[in-house]
């Protein structure tokens, strides 16, 4: 497993880096080391019931496979194990590091992405289950160098301190405002209830989302 501590940096920079496809030496090394460990595993022989409705091959399933992931409109082939989460596939294999792995238990929201337009925790989603689905990460929010109105509002309202939770908050905010462009403060709190900010800058986040909503209603 790649050491995650080497990425503890604000996300503003990784955004442009990943857009331009820059490769980080350290990540490249870790990626190479990880890939060599992926080998075709032999599925254990299993009993097929008397009913025999499943053929032996169907019943065995797969322990690893090359899958295609559609991330921010781009298709990527990636080899994953059955246990590989979407978060790990995105970060460790595809170098799409906007989604952060913090709690790795579906509690903190830092790994939040959209899958077929629905907000999910990528750390609790198997990569194999993301095949054929439309995945959106924070990297897909801005239009080139033009920030999304929600991102602008986060900057204007100073809605981040260390910034590690920000990609998750941005995804949840976007999902919330895509469904409801005129939320009440209570609806904003509910919409962001799956995201934790350990620095505690919630009031600024809520303010930013309300401000972004107003801007977006005006077509900004």
């Amino acid at each position: 497993m790649a050491d995650r501590h080497d990425e503890a940096r604000p996300d503003a920079s990784s955004h442009s880096e990943s857009k331009s496809g820059t490769r980080f030496t350290r990540r490249g090394f870790l990626k190479g080391a990880g890939a060599s460990a992926v080998t075709a595993a032999v599925a254990p022989a299993i009993l097929v019931s008397e009913a025999g409705t499943a053929s032996a091959q169907e019943a065995e399933g797969v322990m690893s496979a090359t899958i295609s992931l559609d991330v921010n409109g781009q298709s990527h082939n990636v080899e994953v194990e059955a246990r590989t989460t979407l978060a790990d596939a995105l970060r460790d294999r595809l170098e799409i590091t906007g989604p952060k792995v913090v709690c790795d238990k579906g509690e903190c929201g830092a790994c939040t992405v959209e899958m077929d337009g629905k907000l999910v925790f990528s750390c609790m989603t198997l990569a194999m289950d993301a095949q054929g689905r439309k995945i959106e990460t924070v990297e897909g929010m801005a239009d080139g160098d033009n920030l999304h109105p929600i991102q602008e509002a986060f900057v204007e309202k100073d809605a981040l301190m260390c910034g590690f939770c920000t990609p998750g908050f941005l995804m949840s905010s976007k999902s919330l405002l895509d469904a409801n462009d005129n939320p009440t403060p209570e609806e904003v709190r509910e919409g962001l209830s799956g995201n934790i900010c350990r620095c505690g800058t919630y009031p600024h986040v809520f303010e930013a989302v309300m401000s972004a909503a107003e801007k977006m209603r005006k077509g900004g």
């Binding site: 009993l47 169907e58 989460t85 949840s172």
Partner: protein, 325 residues
């Protein structure tokens, strides 16, 4: 997480043959929000995971004159958004609205929610080979038991973590179970099992059986319901104590009460004594208090969780008064 073999099921009929004779052989997965966490904690180490999401037609909410049927792949978000649920089954709507977070509700299914494994910190820790994992003792006994059971007499003191299960049980819901010998329907009161029946599990499901549907009978015309949940955080937290209440009240007199507590016992805990006490009685504040006392009559708190008795009492009193008002 240990790697496993991943199988996409294509029909309900196929699933029993894809599963094994032991829980270590194979498990089913729908939303995965509980199972993936369990596998990360090595509380579950299955050789094979059978994906149900690849089965067509299990994602539905259907209503007719007799009640509502909800398919095994219906997500909590879909239940929450359904207007028939919020109108006719408010206890279920309210329960689902306070489950976890939007991300989890988008992934997790209603059926999966009632099949959640315990959140006990000893069960979820690799360092404690507890009774639930085939070990010799329950570490809550003599350990830190702040979040453990106040009802039941062990030998495991986990609490059932589901919010939806008490609500469904209060509504008299049934589950459809599909196994190697076909399907059968079981009322939730008979579905969940205490540790003395099977220390390793919380319900009657066998390793090669799955829940395919949840059916809820239509509540009586004068019946009303509500769900109350007390938790340490306002969002994304399990219940310290919850209460699902469904009551039929005519002219201030309770004809029938269905009261199920969550977070207090290894299964959703029906407060039978309180239900019996309330039947046929005109509801007053004093009687709501008596019902609350009856609900915790059998409570046997552990050294660190006596506070749950007080919360349970308060919830019963509050719900009985509110539903009679």
């Amino acid at each position: 997480m240990q790697n496993f073999s991943y199988v996409n099921a294509t029909s309900i009929e196929q699933v029993p043959s894809l599963l094994g004779r032991s829980w270590d052989d194979a498990v089913v997965m729908a939303g995965g929000t509980d199972l993936v966490g369990e596998m990360k904690d090595y509380a579950a180490v299955p050789k094979r995971v059978v994906n149900l999401k690849s089965i067509e037609g299990l994602d539905y909410i259907r209503q007719d004159d007799t009640g509502m049927r909800i398919g095994a792949l219906t997500t909590l978000t879909d239940v929450l958004a359904d207007s028939a649920v919020s109108q006719d089954y408010p206890v279920l709507h309210q329960a689902v609205s306070v489950i976890a977070s939007p991300q989890i509700r988008n992934m997790a299914t209603l059926a999966g929610n009632i099949l959640q494994r315990p959140r006990c910190w000893y069960y979820r820790s690799e360092d404690f080979p507890c009774l639930k994992k085939g070990g010799a003792r329950c570490y809550a006994v003599g350990g830190v038991n702040t979040y453990h059971a106040i009802f039941g007499s062990g030998p495991s003191y986990i609490v059932h973590p589901s919010d939806a299960a008490p609500a469904l049980m209060a509504l008299g819901a049934t589950v459809n179970i599909h196994g190697p010998r076909g399907a059968n329907e079981v009322v939730l009161d008979d579905f969940f099992t205490m540790p003395e029946m099977n220390i390793r599990r919380e319900n009657i499901l066998r390793p090669n059986e799955i829940v395919t549907e949840i059916s809820i009978p239509k509540p009586e015309a004068n019946s009303r319901g509500m769900f109350l949940k007390v938790r340490e955080r306002e969002s994304i937290d399990f219940a310290l104590v919850s209460l699902a209440a469904q009551m039929t009240v005519v002219n201030g007199t309770c004809e029938r009460a269905s009261l199920v507590l969550g977070g207090v016992a290894p299964i959703p805990w029906r407060a039978v004594e309180a239900e019996v006490y309330l039947r046929g009685r005109r509801i007053t504040e004093a009687r709501a208090e008596s019902a609350a006392e009856a609900a915790v009559e059998d409570a046997a708190p552990m050294p660190h969780n006596g506070y749950k008795v007080e919360i349970a009492k308060n919830l019963v009193k509050q719900a009985v008064q509110a539903l009679a008002a």
